[in-house]
Amino acid sequence: MRTRRFRAAAALAAAGALVLAACGGDDEEPADANGAANGDDADVEEPTSELPIVLGTTDTVTNVDPAGAYDKPSWNIAYNVYQRLLAVPLGETDPQPDAAESCDWVDDTTYSCTLKSGLLFSDGSELTAENVVHSIERQKAIEHESGGWELLATIESVEATDESTVVFNLSTADATLPYILTTAAASIVPMSYPADALQPNDQAFGSGPYTIESFDVTQQIQLGINANYSGDRPLNNSGVLLQFYQQESALKQAIEEGEVMIAYRSLSVTDIADLEENGADRGVNVVVGEGTEINYMVLQVSREPFDEPAVRQAIAQIIDRDAIAESVYRGTVTPLYGPVPEGVAGHVPSFQEQYGEPDVAAAEQILADAGVETPVSFDLWWMPDRYGAEIGDMYGEIERQLEDSGLFDVTLEQLSWGQYSTVFSDGSMDAFDLGWFPDFPDASNYIVPFFHTENFLNYGYSNDEMDQLIEVIRTDTDQDARVAAIEDATRIVAEEAPIIQLWQRDQIAAVRDGVTGVEETLDPSFIFYYNMVSGVEE
């Protein structure tokens, strides 16, 4: 439906971690056939429950064909159904072999992987180098509008030199390829998947630990164990049942009543507070995991009224993040004053440095100096079903802050994720909310996809100085130089305010008594490895 400029931005997203470029096949990090993937090596054998693990969620799954989705909930199923060549083990930061035996650079633009032998898809067919070629090529042929394929932009061609060897030829040097190969976009699919169309969701299968038994996004998705799985991930349960809820309150009731064993994304702030306080009496515990989700407001820089920097700066000057964190989220989020969240190298509270305390008079001055007529009116979009229902309250709060200043006239608009995800980048929204789960834990992932001229938001932001900094971030091997560049970029973001970051928070799940393994999988990778979870039926 919608035309979209080609964007290499998503690929750039992955391009930051040059210093982490050491990969599975390296000398210093010898590939281990019995793999350390997912940190299972230290595991004591967990009891395997007979019944599947029931996981309740309010998330929306779109497609489980990796060529048809670029959203966390769908990807998460892909991570459990397919294998990738490489994976970042739980609790670690470097890619390690998954389906690959080993991977190594041949030269700057050539990367070669050897596959493990004897890998089978759930239908019994063999996983060979051809599958990898097929997977990558169909991603690029389908060019699904969700945009996941753009991650693979620097891969010019893939060839299978023999049964078990696959060679990637890159268009430019891209040291982050190993990271890209850990994402769901590089999932290895069976040859039976059409080369130019998506595999129907209920017929999707892979070589990962789970296989899809039934698929209804409005009610439940059943995952059974893939009997042919021969990878390294431990299997602590006999299957997973994803139960979908439309409302957070229903999800909370379900976990209290024991209908689900895990409630993961999203419980409301009120629900979490209640469960933390009284959950134990009802057999529910709240689990907090590392992982930095951020939320931000994008301003459509390409046209009025946000083509005028003063208007953007005035908003940055007025918004009171403390009020949001305290009054809307009751302290469950931390105010975020820059593009890189706290806890990640390169974090600078640049907005705080630039604007200080929220100050209406200063904002008025900024607008007056630029000769902007007030009130400035604009539409502000948010989605109720992606980052929690509080988003609505947050924008209610922001609307109030902006309108109380007398400088802005805000119209709130809401749209659910299904549609929102396909329109936010088409330039139709004056200003809109989004969140970000990092693809990998490096500061570059919070800068490059957003502020490069070729960005995934398509919001018209372009700054030469920024592009140069991003070049450094992508290619410089000196970590200090990279961090310095990230900090500089952060300051430019605050000055120009094309995007206004609002908050960051940890991952939260609620689990029934007797459920283990959730804490381990809530790591910065933001992948929920279902196989880690085991549950004792009460």
Binding site: S249, T270, A273, G396, T411
Partner: protein, 374 residues
Amino acid sequence: MATVTQPMPGPGRTPVKGSTRVVRLLRGIARPYRNSHGVGRFMLVTGTVLVVLMLLTAVFAPLIATFGFSQVAGADGQRFMNHAEPGAEHIFGTTTQGFDVFSRVVWGARTAVTVVLLALAFSLFLGVLLGLIAGFVGRWVDRVLVMVMDALFALPALLLAIVVAFLLSEYVGGGASTAALAITAVYVPQYFRVVRAATVSAKEQTYVEAARAMGARPATIMFRYLLTNVIQSVPVIATLNAADAILTLAGLGFLGYGIQPTEAAEWGYDLQRAVSDTGAGIWWTGLYPGLAIVLLVMGLTLMGEGLNETMNPAIRVRRLIPISMPELTAAQRTKAAQVPERDRPGQDRPVDTGGEDRNSREPGSGETGKGGAA
């Protein structure tokens, strides 16, 4: 006992003076109260008291409410606590957004009353106008209008309201007028139905025949004689529909298609937000808006039923089951079959039972209006 047909203005009556008119109006309003007794009176009086209280709340909301409906900080700039328990400062507590529940409930009354009055005005205007035209003009105009209205009537009221709200939201915005228009779409067919049936039977009445014979223009007849006659059956339906409209509005708000929370306080929206709270033992955010809806709807329904019982003698007057029917023309037969059970009486029954027909239908139409009730 007053019957509907009693105060019909005869042709050539001299215009009454202003003061007399007011007296007559007051007397007209008081009549149902004087004439009622027993359960009917109890219902009428209780209902009226509830409705008047809500109306007063709506009118004097700025005086009654302690805070604005989206106010989150006191005069001293100190922000309200979220989920504060009912206490001295916030007698009904505060919501998850830190709004004062009491103020939200009070302002919500204003929203409800505004929307319902707007919706009533719109749908009365449209329904009565179309009903008069259909009933008076007859022929194909009538048939087309009846078909269209019937089709609208077949759609679940809430569904219709949701869709209209959805379609209008982008253009009219999420304010009171969108909600009112959405509700209007639901109730036009009902007024149309009643007014049309009454018109059909009334236009056969002698005084209308007489006026026509004397050469009165159709428009004059329609508005001078029919309207004044027909309009008398409206209060009961209007009251019952208002009750229903409150529920439809709340339903819209609950589903998130009603009035945007920043534009006005709305009980349905507040209840929706309270769902999470209730599960966490925070009862005050849901209880009060819920009770407000129940009280207002009950008030209106009690009043409507009381009025119905007092003003419309159908239930107490001996009702004859028509034994012989006038011969139907082919067209009428078709129509009767097309519009099962709803529109028949006005057409097929002896003309002089017109008054009763309306009455016998009213409970039905009030009832079916509850499609939106939900």
